[in-house]
């Protein structure tokens, strides 16, 4: 290789590393900056898996580099083994590279089993206080959060006390969606006519970005929301202020809200009718057969 090319490559690599370092210094990597136990557990799974894979990847890269360099045509340093074309099957090497990856996969399998059960989105969490229930309706193209116990509802903002588990029940009045707050935990798919669940908990106060993880039409990119963890007293004050100053969420105002709109601002409602159950049932009217028997899909009571 020409000296100038080597120089260029090294300069390029340095520039790249510098650029990455500067960029990383100024930004949050949400998935690697967990604010709750679920996200923390998921991040640990990612890191452990990366480490285990490195046990295979590093030798592969080393071998690639060494073999490509040492056995290149024109290098007389290394042995060229074309005479032993027709003999010895290197079964030791074969054994090694079947067994070691299999062993790593075996460990990964155990991790998969244990972590899938430990981090099951349906599993209720233990926190400083009893869980708060939030019903979520994915609409075109915003998120409606209903707090049945508190009698309020919000659009594009879900606020709750830090340290308290939140038990989400989710449905959609829109195409297939996905509810995702990366710093609090993984996402869950949200579908019309069905109810699913997600359990999250924030260990510290803060504003966390929420996204929709599945395309649902034209306005899907605007379907972002904020998950805000505050102290218990701040939360109580927030609920109280909404109750005093908001319009009610009735079937009629819900229908207005459900009409397609994008980039909705945060809005509040109080009191609230049970639009959640009504929305789920809307897709199961008799006269058209039901989809009761979906195996593995857990339904609302």
């Amino acid at each position: 290789m020409k000296r100038s090319s080597v120089f260029l490559v090294i300069a390029g690599a340095v520039a790249l590393v510098l650029g990455i370092a500067i960029y990383l210094h100024n930004t949050t990597i949400a998935v690697l900056d967990p604010a709750g136990p679920v996200a923390l557990g998921e991040k640990n799974v990612i890191l452990i898996t990366l480490f285990l894979c490195a046990l295979v990847v590093v030798p592969v890269f080393v071998m690639l580099g060494v073999f490509a360099w040492r056995y290149r045509e024109g290098s007389h340093a290394a042995r060229y083994e074309h005479h032993s074309e027709w003999d010895h099957y290197n079964w030791i090497a074969e054994l090694i590279w079947w067994i070691i990856p299999s062993a790593i996969i075996f460990v990964l399998a155990i991790i998969a089993w244990n972590s899938s059960h430990a981090l099951d989105p349906y599993k209720p969490l233990q926190g400083d206080a009893p869980a708060i229930t939030v019903d979520v309706v994915a609409l075109d193209w915003k998120w409606l959060f209903i707090y049945p116990a508190q009698g309020i509802a919000t659009v594009n903002l879900v606020e709750f006390p830090a340290g308290t588990p939140i038990h989400f029940y989710l449905t959609a009045d829109a195409p297939m969606n996905s509810f995702w707050v990366p710093q609090l935990g993984g996402q869950i798919m949200v579908m019309p006519g069905m109810t699913t669940q997600l359990n999250l908990l924030a260990s510290r106060n803060g504003d966390f970005n929420g996204f929709s993880g599945n395309i649902s039409g034209e306005g899907f990119a605007g379907m972002t929301f904020t998950a805000r963890a505050v102290s218990q007293s701040e939360f109580d004050q927030w609920v109280a202020s909404i109750k005093t100053s908001s319009a009610p969420l009735t079937q009629a105002s819900y229908s207005e809200l459900a009409a397609p709109s994008e980039y909705n601002p945060v809005t509040y409602y109080a009191p609230v009718d049970d639009v959640f159950s009504a929305t789920v049932m809307k897709y199961m009217t008799p006269g058209s057969a039901m989809m009761e028997s979906m195996s593995g899909m857990q339904m609302t009571q």
Binding site: M284, G287, A289, M291, E292, S293
Partner: protein, 201 residues
């Protein structure tokens, strides 16, 4: 003596190899058809579930009617087998007779199925009424469509044998048709059991 025509048994090595290749190819295609039906069965299994106020399998068909359909189709398959035997013995008239019987019975099967579907639609139980009905019509209807295509193939085959007798090409086509026809029979048996019998229990 005159309606006998000896099938040409002196096939060259190349001819035999070509026949074996065609046969293997046809079986491979048939396996893809099997996967197609398996997918439709899976769809039916998912969508057949308990119905709330809509139609379910019990109230949309009559078992005697379906049983008769089944006998018709099975007899049609039997007739096809007899046709193949006659062809192997070089009997043109016998072959044509049994092929026509196969056709008539097959057409009767399709006619009965169309009648059943038309009746359901008239009652307001067409395929667009529910997921279950969509799955039912599509599974049973796809089978019926295959049978119809088989019937058209059969007409072409009968015409070919009338025109050119038991040439190598015609013998091969007859063998392939017979395999196809028996395959559809087997699929129907699965439909009969999975859709109708278990539904009426």
């Amino acid at each position: 003596m005159t309606d006998h025509q000896h099938t040409d048994v002196t096939l060259s090595h190349e001819d035999r190899a070509a026949d074996s290749t065609t046969l293997f190819g046809f079986w491979t295609y048939l396996m893809t058809d099997l996967v197609l039906f398996a997918s439709l069965f899976a769809v039916f299994a998912v969508l057949r579930g308990p119905q709330f106020g809509g139609a379910s399998i019990q109230n949309i068909f009559s078992l005697p009617f379906v049983l008769f359909e089944t006998i018709v189709l099975l007899t049609s398959s039997f007739a096809c087998g007899l046709a193949l035997l006659a062809a192997r013995e070089g009997k043109v008239k016998g072959t044509i007779f049994w092929l026509c019987t196969t056709f008539v019975l097959g057409a009767l099967f399709v006619g009965m199925e169309v009648h059943e579907f038309a009746g359901l639609v008239a009652q307001g139980l067409g395929p667009s009424q529910s997921g279950f009905l969509s799955a039912y019509f599509t599974l049973v209807g796809t089978h019926g469509l295959h049978v119809t295509i088989g019937l058209l193939w059969l007409i072409v085959l009968i015409v070919a044998i009338l025109k050119r007798g038991f040439s190598r090409g015609n013998m091969r086509k007859l063998a392939l048709f017979a395999i196809f026809w028996h395959f559809l029979d087997i699929i129907w048996i699965f439909i009969f059991i999975i859709v109708y019998l278990t539904g009426s229990l």
